[in-house]
Assembly symmetry: D2
């Protein structure tokens, strides 16, 4: 069990009817995706002078995606004073930025392996956010 699962298990108050597996998966994928995007932006920055100019949009997408995934992991890790509308809005934004960043990274996946690994992290995170949104009803 990941730390996110352990922390959820030890939460002292009522969690409502939330799907705990979907929640833990979403937190863990947000953390992984944030890390992948930070590292992918940095890896793009180290590509050759020939390739760097084509990676501008990829770097920018990765920076946005890293920021939003980090914050999404935080928001869905909090349960006190839960507000379903805020949670849903944050998850929708996170899914949208993961889709856009996954699309952009995929364009460079055949050329740059870090973009391929990052695109896969974005896809998993997008899916985990969407599953949690569905679970919120």
């Amino acid at each position: 069990m990941t730390v996110a699962g352990e922390m959820l298990r030890t939460y002292p108050a009522d969690l409502g009817g939330i799907d705990r597996d979907a929640l833990v998966r979403c937190i863990d994928e947000c953390l992984s995706c944030a890390q992948a995007c930070t590292a992918c932006a940095d890896a793009c920055l180290s590509e050759s002078d020939d390739h760097l100019p084509m990676l501008r949009k990829c770097i920018r997408s990765c920076e946005d995606c890293a920021d939003i995934c980090s914050v999404t992991a935080r928001v869905v890790s909090r349960h006190t004073g839960y507000d379903a509308n805020i949670t849903r809005s944050v998850l929708q934004t996170c899914a949208a930025v993961c889709r856009a960043c996954g699309d952009e990274c995929e364009r460079h996946a055949a050329m740059h392996e870090h973009c391929r690994v990052c695109a896969e992290a974005c896809r998993r995170c997008q899916q985990a956010c969407e599953e949690l949104i569905n679970d919120l009803g």
Copy 2:
């Protein structure tokens, strides 16, 4: 002129038709609101044993709002590889969390002055986000 205004003025590429005043105001209000919310959560935590239990939801709202306002300031400070859908989604989430946090802080404004100051920062930030959303079309 704030630093955000100076940085926007020196951006080397085309910014499209964006309303620069609305953009700078949004960045500055996001930064102020993030700081106010971090400080308000901490001030709530220092209230007396009698008041602290009533401030649980306020602390949690302030933490979410600080996180989301910080990230919104970052996203709208970037212009390279601009994606209007992402910007709009982030701004809508930010406006929603500012509204919720402003409402919660307002409930305690008569009793705790830090909640009153923070609620005002949330209102200004919500409004600045909404104006920038309108400007995006």
Copy 3:
């Protein structure tokens, strides 16, 4: 292999003589500790009115620790334009805040299981940061 390991493996430029296992462990522990601290601050906030006032310092320590661990994970995930002095300073601060937060959480570990789980995450993160500092020379 975690995503951090995959991203490190696909970095396109020279990484110098860094111990890759120590680096990946540090990134992964920083991410886990940041999540544990965010969740522990929130779990503390949901404790009973009797216990909440004793948890003020724990909540505050957890918030600092979450913030610093998140940023440390980012800084050590970047390799372009590497500056050993900055990396060392960030890791030292992270180890210090993990020690302080681990100590504070440990005080409440017998009473609150989330504090016990969080203290363990802080200890592992402190150790991973210290090992990476030693590796930097």
Copy 4:
């Protein structure tokens, strides 16, 4: 008075002997520097194909500096359960990264005005952190 000053004025508990002006200045300079660095990294990314490769290290320094300044603003905005050792360590790391980022931006200041504006924000933030460190004793 900035929002940081208003929030400090309304803090409900004892602040110890801290120099409030130095504290508010430090918070405000950290927020400005974080914004300048986020915007400067993005502006560098939009420079011409000829200049972009020379700006790799500048982009990376700006990203680290933005992250650390944001977190420093948060840590020094909290007063509950104050720990002088943590505060000092965070401020020292922030001053170090502002010095390094200011140096790097200065190298490009004659060519790129956004680097000049950002270097000045880094200098002011470094100085504000150092003054607060001195004040902590």
